[in-house]
Subunit: 398 residues, 2 copies
């Protein structure tokens, strides 16, 4: 049987994204979420001719007429309404962030002044109009788009949202996701496993990966029983947008997931991908519902979530998928099978270049190895010798 | 007055880190936190000779004696106690994740079998001992350190914590931080500012930057009144580990922060740094309390938090500060003043290299420009011409 290639699999997945709509949330809750409205300047920025140094505000014409001594008429504090320089031969002390006083057009910082008996003497040969003044509307004009929609909101955007008074913000609604483990060998993490059992870990790894995308996934565990699987999965298909499975997708006698999904009307879009780890990966759709059924081994699940679910999610949210990371292999590597290989690597940055050094693992099930590595290097299936200095796509998880 | 250089400022800050102790939290809450105990393998991994392909388990000696037809004696499912192959001329169907049945030492996957009338015929010339078996203890041995302390916990570590049953985990306690804005010109974001006012944004930007470090900071605003400042800051010094100010640290008539901090016994370790933006930055200590007083302009506050608070926090938590990012400048850039310049840039990755392209801003106060950029390139103060292709430290905020 010809396996689906990694490229084909990703293409199919990206052709099956969904739009989960828009919701309005508090601006302080929206980090990491995707903006779904253009953010517009409600006024000019700065909104007034803004003093940008502490010092005195004067009239340039007076200075240019040769005057260097300016009697201090008053103080223009930040946060006070604009005052007026009454006599243009005088000056007003003006503070950073204040409105420029009327009848003034130059600010001279304290460092260049001598102040004595209420008179400021300017130690300067010449001045420029609007020196030390951040002019009204210089940065942005009222009505300008400050943030375009479909951008991930970070601290920078939070600051802008606050500035324009957007206390409620329209963001993309997150998909409702349930992560389901199967397998009779799994026990809860608070239990002590018997000799033939292991603790359940994949769901928690997936929960954590999704949390990084600001998705709070629910979790469930189902034993290897076809009728129970049918009933529960039917229920999940009604109540969630996305079902992520871990395990029971291969050739085992109890690998019921593909059969049960088929029975429930989930259309298989592919099963088995030409990759290591994660070959038995199954992907399907039922209407707007999306099902990722990853193989049960921990590293397979981990890398498959990063390689497939993450871009599916990003595209669903309207983000573009450009500027993917790449890294430079630091040593020769040999991998014979004609499969895309997700090589565990440790990265380091030198002189603007990202290097990836293989972390020798003990096989695709070695979860502890993920701790020593921090990324996967995606080695294509059409070659077997990967040479020091070659560049490959990088999937960074730290 | 000779200004403190950026390098000196950072050195002073890193010589004044604090240890906030350790707390034990639920393993699912510990993403992004710093591990404060070694995580030990509670058993071997795998804990038993683990079948790694679905197929049949046989005895290699039988195969090597020429036998290719194996009567199926039973099924070894994952999650079931180990069964025994009674007749070594027979086989047991064995599933991925199951314990290897007793008296078997080879697993042959279904793909290489023909099964008819309860007999599996192996279509294979030779087998290797422990083929398709993930041997007990191959990955890790009971007692091995799986994760060393002082590591940031990510999804990979969550998986390992689950595997070894660490439902409660010792992590570094977070500092208690309060972020304080000052300035009479600031109004709340839900208010409509008067002509001479602007909305309060820096505290929210800082809250968001600290949230990325998993710190839930409190916030406060104080008007430019010396007595109120004294009373409130004295209270904050009692109740918080870290005080971060934004504004009132320069030469203005109402820039009371340095004076008030001095009055309250906070020792100034430096005031004014040879950088743009952010020159009036003030840093001090009172015993174990740490005070970062950043200038009030939005970009100054933003970059100063990333450049100074973040590494201070990381070192305080026991993290190492190696592997700092760098990037390659894509065009010539000229900056005359003998100041370290934090240039706003947009980054992109090509062939494993990170490139930084200047985003022309409208001055240090242009918050909206942060939205178009995604990092700062740190240009040193000892030159004025920065040439395309040169590499500089990068401070990425996305």
């Amino acid at each position: 049987m010809k396996l689906t290639t990694v490229k084909e699999a990703l293409k199919i997945i990206l052709n099956n994204t969904e739009d989960f709509g828009v919701e309005e949330i508090d601006f302080l809750e929206c980090e990491g979420r995707v903006l779904k409205e253009d953010i517009i300047a409600d006024r000019d920025f700065p909104p007034f001719n803004r003093v940008s140094m502490d010092g005195i505000a004067i009239n340039a014409a007076t200075f240019n007429s040769g005057e260097r001594d300016f009697k201090i008429e008053g103080v223009q504090a930040a946060g006070s309404p604009q005052i007026t320089l009454k006599d243009t031969f005088n000056c007003v002390e003006a503070m950073t962030g204040a409105v420029l006083p009327l009848n003034t057009n130059v600010v001279i910082q304290y460092e260049l002044l001598t102040i004595k008996n209420g008179v400021a003497t300017v130690n300067l040969e010449s001045v420029k109009d609007f020196q030390n003044i951040h002019k009204k509307g210089l940065d942005r004009t009222a009505g300008d788009v400050l943030i375009e929609k479909n951008k991930v909101i970070t601290a920078a955007e939070i600051g802008v949202l606050a500035t324009v008074g957007k206390s409620k913000v329209k963001v993309g609604k997150q998909p409702k996701v349930i992560i389901v483990s199967t397998g009779n060998e799994l026990v809860e993490i608070t239990e002590t496993p018997a000799e033939h059992q292991i603790r359940r870990s994949n769901v928690y790894t997936l929960v954590s990966l999704l949390k990084k995308l600001n998705i709070n996934a629910e979790t469930a565990h189902i034993l290897d029983n076809k009728e129970v699987l049918k009933a529960k999965i039917e229920n999940y298909l009604s109540n969630f947008d996305v079902l992520i499975f871990s395990g029971a997708v291969s050739k085992g006698k109890f690998d019921f997931i593909p059969e049960v999904l088929n029975f429930l009307g989930v259309e298989k879009l592919f099963h088995k991908v030409n990759q290591r780890p994660g070959k038995p990966f199954w992907f399907g759709k039922k209407g707007v519902k999306t099902v990722f059924a990853f193989p049960g081994n921990p590293v397979s699940t981990f890398v498959s979530c990063l390689k497939y679910f993450t871009p599916w999610y990003k595209k669903s949210m309207g983000l573009n998928l450009n500027n993917r990371e790449t890294a430079i292999l630091t040593e020769d590597f040999y991998f014979k099978p004609s499969l895309t290989y997700f090589l565990q690597v440790k990265t380091n940055i030198e002189n603007g270049k990202t290097y990836a050094t293989p972390v020798s693992g003990k096989g695709s099930g070695d979860l502890a190895n993920l701790v020593d590595a921090d990324a996967f290097l995606e080695l294509p299936n059409d070659k077997t010798n990967f040479t020091k200095g070659e560049v490959f796509p990088l999937i960074n998880y730290r």
